[in-house]
Structures are given as C-alpha cells and as structure tokens.
Symmetry: C2
Subunit: 300 residues, 2 copies
C-alpha cells in the first residue's frame, strides 16, 4: 500500500520538502493559504485535491507553518485537520515552537488517536529542496514509525531526542539561540571591521578561515558582501524565535544576556522597517548607528 | 647564509611556534621570563644563548607575549631588543594589540632601521606546534620579505592585509570579537539546554551538525562535556581582548552591545576566581546563576 502524505505550508522550507517527498515517490499533497503557491505545487505533481478530501486517507501530515498559533489553527482550528485523520496517522510538526506547546499538541492529538512527532527542522531552503534537512525529533516510537517514510524523504539526518514531544523543540530553541546570536554578532563584527577599513569581502575571506567563524557567518555574510537582502530567512523570524528562547529562560529562571542583546538588535531592525528583508539586514542597524555605508547591489 | 630567528615568549603558542621553526631547519633561539620553559626549549634544540648575545645577529624576532605592555617592554624596555638588532631585520609582532599600538611600534622600529610586521596569529596551540597557524599580516613589503622564512615555518596561511601596521591587528580584533562572543554564547546555549534536560554531550552531538554551530563551539564545548578546564586558552584572555575591541569601538563611536554582554560574562568568571581556567569555564557563571550542575571530571 502506498504511503500518502500532506505538506501544509508551502513557504521556502515546506515547498522544498513537498518537492522532495514527491521526488521520493510518496503520494504527496501540498497545501497553502496562498492559492498561487498551492497551484504551483499541484502543477508540479499533477495531483490536486482539497485537504478536506484527503485528510482521512493520508498517513502523515507535515506542518511547516511559521509559528505555534498557525500550527494550532491547522490542527484544531476551523477545518481542524486532526479530528478527520485516521487512527495511527501522524502529525509531523516542523515549526519552531515552545516545548510546552509541543507537549500540549501531543496530548490533544492523542485524544483523537493521532500520533504527534515534535520535529523541528534545520538546514535552510536549499537543503529542504534536496531532501537533505536535519530533523530534531522527539515523540513516541509509534509516532516515529508512522513518520519514517516522510522523514526519510526530507532529511539526511534525524536526531532521536527522546520518547515524548518537547525535547525536539527544546533542542531547536537551543539551536535558534545560537543561530540568532551568531547572525547579529556577524553583523556587529563586520561593521566593527568596516569602521576600521576592513572591506566586507576581506572580512568574509579571512574570518571564514579563522577561529571566529560560524555556520551562520559563512551563510549570511555573503548577503551583505553582495548587498542582496532577498529574504532567504527574514528578520522577523528572530523576534519570534528568540522570543521563544526568552519565554523558556524566564520560566526556568535562566539569564540569557547575550541572547537579549541580539534580540534587541533584531527588534531595532524591525523598527527600521527591515522585517521582511533577509536577516543579514540586521547589519543595517549597526551601519546606521555608526554612519557606515554597506555594499549595495546597484554599485556592484 | 642561514636564517636565524628568535621567539620571545614560550607560552602555549610561542613554544609550538619555536618548535616549528627549529623543525623547519631555521637557526632558532627561544626566550621566556620563565627559566624552566626557556631551558626546556634549549634542551630540545641544543642551542643556548642569551638574547643579548644573539640580538645583533638574528634576522627576525617573533614576539609571542600576552599583550601590548609586554610587547613594548621586550622591544623598547630594559634590555630593549630593537636598538640592538641589525638593519633590515624584522620584528614579527604576534600578540593581540590595538591597531594604534601596532602603528606606534612600526614607527619606533623604523627609527632604528628595523622592520615591523603586524602579525597576529590564529589557530591555537596544536596548530602552532604543527607550523599550521593563520597569520593576519600587515606591513611594508620589506617587512614581509624579511619575515617570510619565519612565517613559512609557523603558518600554513598568511593573509596579506596591507602595506602598513594596524590592519593585521584590526582584523585580529574582529576575529576576537567573534571568537569571544561565540564561546560565551556556547556557554549560554549549553546551560539553556541543560536546564531543559538536554545533556551536554547531546548538545554537542546535535548542534555541531546544525546551523547553530561555530568553530569555537566545536572546539570548547568538549571541555565542558569532559568537565576538563585545563587552560588551553584562559578566561583572562577575554577581558583583555574584548577590552581592546571596546577601546576601538569607543574611539570609532560604534555600538557593540553583544560584545559587551559577552565581556560581562567573562568578567563575572574572573570575579568568581576562574581567570586561570580554560575559557570554557564561563559556563560556570551561567550554571551558578541557575543552580545547574555541569559535568565534572571526577564523575566521568
């Protein structure tokens, strides 16, 4: 019997994941609030259906929306998905959410005999489209078993972080703390260098070969060098994700002063109207404060 | 004619650099305030001499001390080295110092017809001993030419950052900003995970394969996992190096809020009496504040 799945949310990550699943030979349905995206995916697969029609037949649904509120709306809001899914099918929840939210969703899914896999993803849009993501998975063995064909289709690495929802999201929050701070620190260091006469290209060439490098620096500094702020991942992600970190830290009584300093820079970027730009645009906050000129696309 | 050089400062970096130069076949003299270190190096080479005796014959002297004050003391203090060096020989200045200090030393060396290469190093003790460092070099072509055999012996990568002293030190300050923040952020993230039940080993295994990784995280987090704070690079480095960053930033009117947050954590570590421990011990500041227990060497 063939494995049938849906991807709900066809943004930069979800679209690539849905393509990867289709390419892997799974019966794949893609859905998005944006009709254009949805029909673009359907034209690639030749497989069109409403979610209402397939909800009761699919084995797995990957939820690749932007936050907890959208995840909850898909699962239990108007046109709630979970109550219509068949027993033993699985929700693969990929958005970055608080661990407590993941635990609550697991509980509510189990009321409908639907499995829930807490499954935040890492790797970016390019790797999503290659089926080469990392997944930080936690949930029951039954959830992992039910999700396996879907995970095999989208990921090259699945970290098994435990037997219940929450652990995957906890690890994702740890990753986002680091990733967000590293982006803002790259911007702080690049502008610090620029003020001393270090060209952004030289910064990238040298630092990427030195102890000061990070995955995020090597991924995002090129956007500044090229003056290209096309949003691969937008500034607005970070007030949300570092907000989740802050919420957890407050609950646990933890100090996160470096995270707070980075969060303030992303908030300043949003206040400057840069929310929809690539997150490397946080460098513009520093450049504006110090009256520095970053490379621009037009003058390249 | 053989190339003769001295390494002044036989700490974790200088000792390995001197070994690399000796192994490369250069006539290498090593000096340190610590007589035990100095005789240990001399017994490896079978070459003992006082600095006073060789100062006028060497082609190059690498200064691998901890800061600007020690660099100045070696070059121009009691038993000043520079006035005794031969015309056209070169000072290769490896300590992390402010760019203005490097420019001043270049000027003062030129009064004695001695070349000065602003040459901060990156890579750590293991790579120093392998002759595999990165050098961020700036200075006159004559300085670079005079230093070449020495640089070839200690480094696999020499970045040419320009024709005058200061640019090398500016790039080193950029690198140190990033490296220091990345260490403290690793500690913030590791303890943030630990408070949610993420074991430090799991943190390292997962994050090192995800977008949140950094060179420093992969290098320093193992020390915390092993509970081993043997100082490969001590906490006290960071108040000094991030202090240099702060000094430059203040001069240039730059905001460095993330650097300041990291610096405060290193200062707190020093205040806790951890200054001489490995810099990964900054995690103890977070652990103490949140009443978390980090892995200990004894319980492994």
């Amino acid at each position: 019997m063939s494995y049938s799945c849906a991807v709900i949310g066809l943004g930069s990550m979800g679209f690539g994941m849905a393509q990867s699943l289709h390419r892997a030979g799974l019966e794949t349905y893609g859905f998005d609030r944006d009709a254009e995206r949805e029909s673009r995916f359907q034209s690639e697969t030749g497989r069109a259906a409403s979610l209402a029609c397939v909800a009761s037949t699919i084995d797995a649904a990957a939820i690749v929306v932007v936050n907890a509120a959208q995840t909850e709306a898909v699962l239990f809001g108007d046109d709630a998905l979970v109550p219509r899914m068949k027993q033993g099918s699985v929700i693969v929840a990929c958005a970055t959410v608080a661990p407590d939210f993941a635990r609550e969703m697991e509980r509510r899914c189990s009321d409908h005999s639907v499995q829930y896999l807490d499954a935040p993803i890492s790797g970016g849009a390019v790797r999503a489209a290659k089926g080469d993501l990392s997944v930080m998975a936690s949930g029951s063995q039954a959830a992992k078993d039910a999700a396996k064909p879907l995970l095999d289709g989208v990921a090259s690495t699945v970290f098994d972080l435990g037997e219940s929802a929450g652990a995957g999201s906890a690890m994702k929050a740890v990753n986002q703390l680091l990733a967000g701070v590293h982006i803002a620190t790259m911007a702080e260091a690049l502008t610090f260098g620029l003020a001393q006469g270090v060209a952004p290209e030289t910064f990238l060439d040298v630092i990427s070969q030195c102890a000061g490098t990070s995955w995020m620096l090597e991924n995002r500094a090129p956007h500044i060098v090229d003056g290209d702020y096309t949003p691969h991942s937008a500034v607005t992600i970070w007030p949300k994700d570092l907000g989740i970190v802050t919420e957890i830290a407050n609950e646990k009584g933890l100090q996160t002063p470096i995270t707070q300093a980075a969060l303030a820079q992303f908030n300043a970027a949003v206040a400057m109207g840069l929310g929809a730009e690539d997150d490397a645009a946080v460098a513009k906050v520093y450049a504006k404060a110090a009256n520095l000129t970053l490379p621009s696309k037009d003058t390249e």
